[in-house]
Symmetry: none
Subunit: 207 residues, 4 copies
DNA sequence: GATGAATGAGAATTCATTCAT
DNA sequence: CATGAATGAATTCTCATTCAT
């Protein structure tokens, strides 16, 4: 009997390798050989676990999102603080993630770029689903706070999407202008501003 | 007298073609042939005006930034309204630009993706310079308002970078989640929130 | 006592599987995996019984010829009818075989194609030997009839080879133009014509 | 302006090269590189004239059939001799073609092999059409002779298909058993036998 | 200046074969 | 004995770039 291999675990190994390689070279310049080298196996083996380079990107992208989003979102949902503070902490947590997972950010940019020129793909479907989920979770946190009477009503979806856009914008800035990004980071303004979305949105809703 | 062709004008033709093609297929999948077709000339001719595909991307990227940023920034600088309002108008102007120049947004994403995996290139230098300039102009508007006594002092660079990040985030959202983007857009929350950066930053600065 | 497996029998299982797979996909497009699947075993096991894919083809080819030729030839040799009639019956028997063993015909075509581009191989040796034997047996039937005074002398080798060619031609036609093949089949002309080789050959010999 | 190239002529050059290479190595073992080498150009150039390896095979196959069949058929149609003799001459002409165009025969076998495992392809459509045409022309020669009162009526389609099968069988024999083939050839029996299809078929029709 | 035929360096992918378990 | 994970050579096809006309 041959070596028993946990297919899922093995896939994860490749995803990790792909993450590094896609981050370093970009998706298109990255070769399957480079991924194989990074994973310490031969080219052919990748195809035992993924149908194609694109499939590998898909799997990688999914991992990426989880790494990057899960932590921040669970902070938002589980913290006992007031809403605004929780948003601030959530954002701060993502900023930490950016610091820590630079490769993930680089890779996620590659995935975004793929989405731009690909109308109907598994990749787009998956990314859309994740985007929707993130928006849902953020919105849910807002909705709950409203229901609990913690804050006045406001357009929660729009607020969620605004924050999401700003967060992705920070990921982007960390890549395309890392020096500026770090400068801005130190001021601590960004999380506070994200927290302020609540009062801004309420203010608008009351007019 | 030979046909006088304005080199610069001719380049612009190619840049326009490249813009469309890069937006449709993505930079890497776009072929020089496709760009030539879109420009209505032969492949070889492109090389009379650009050194390489990358050089074409560089030129395209530069055009992109100008189209997308110039309008909004000049609105910010030239409007006689109060600062917060001007920021709102500026942001609103960019959102209109996103609507109008979808191809530009798609192409700019391709440029961003290239930056991710390219440490030292002309592209990066150019993009950095433009990013810095945009931040400078935004910051200058803030600084002037402070100097004029219109608003209390606040960390203007950080504020500028926050808004810039949020703006790029919106460009991104318009591509990776266009449906959600449109939903959020209608609420009008986003420009207002961007305007609120001023008071948020001031609030933080006074503590 | 370990499980006793008849190596020969086991080989035959693989040959049967290979027959089906080669017929469906063609020799080159057929993968060892597909053969293994068809045989209900693992890829590796095939190599316990065959040295290589080519070796498997060799074994398959040999089986093929036996299936297809043996029946017809023994009809020719064992029937008590007059020579011409026996040839007709022999041919008719092969036509039935074609009907029945479509996969065999498809596979044999694959073997023929291999022979075309392979000067010195076991495959060619084996096929030559079988071709020679078939010609020998057909010729022997003719020679015996001449010796017995049943028919006048004629060039028996040439006659045998003509009939053999025509038979292979029918196998071919059944594959490359199955509709036409069936049309021609119904007329019953073909076996009769093959039978007529005897009188044609005698007629030529008497001039 | 670049070199003006006659696309059709250039294609023919590649077809000729492919013919040689397919004949020598077999379709599947032949590499595009080898074809390019044989044509004295680079790999990439082939793709300026053919979509794929399969497309090249298609073009090659079509050329093949024309070379091999056209001559024999026009002999059949244009000779002023009696029908049986004309059939004999036609067959003899093809046998000469086999001698002369050995590479064509080898390649045609490769095409036949492809047909075996490919239900619906351009290749099959093209081959079917050619097969039908050949049968039509042979049959037409028979029909005309009947109409002219030269011979009594007989099932002309079946006769045409029988002869066609036998001819292809000879092509096959020339490849898979070349020594035997040459032996049989010398006797001159084969063309005569093919000519005898007419009387055999008439004999059957009168019963 | 413009053209597009030709080039050839790659890259993704496949699959026969091996061999550790 | 059987298995199937791993290998890596081989192959098709692409496309940026060049250059003769």
């Amino acid at each position: 009997m041959p070596k028993i291999v946990d297919k899922t675990e093995r896939r994860q190994q490749f995803v990790l390798a792909a993450l590094r390689v896609f981050a370093e070279y970009g998706y298109h310049r990255a070769t399957m050989q480079a991924v194989a080298d990074a994973a310490g196996v031969s080219k052919g083996s990748i195809y035992d676990y993924f149908d194609s380079k694109e499939d590998l990107l898909l799997a990688t992208a999914e991992s990426l999102l989880i790494v990057l989003i899960e932590e921040s979102m669970s902070v938002l949902e589980q913290s006992p603080r007031p809403l605004t503070e929780r948003v601030e902490i959530c954002v701060a947590s993502l900023l930490e993630g950016i610091e820590q997972w630079n490769e993930v950010c680089l890779s996620i940019l590659q995935v975004w770029a793929e989405l731009g020129s690909d109308e109907d793909s598994d990749l787009r479907a998956m990314m859309s689903e994740h985007y929707r989920q993130s928006a849902d979770r953020l919105q849910a946190a807002f909705d709950v706070a409203i229901e609990d009477g913690e804050v006045l009503p406001f357009p929660t979806r729009a607020a969620a999407l605004s924050v999401l856009a700003a967060l992705d914008g920070m990921i982007l800035q960390s890549i395309i202008a890392p020096e500026e990004y770090k400068r801005g980071l130190r001021s601590g303004l960004f999380p506070r501003w994200c927290g302020s979305i609540v009062s801004t949105a309420i203010g608008g809703a009351m007019q």
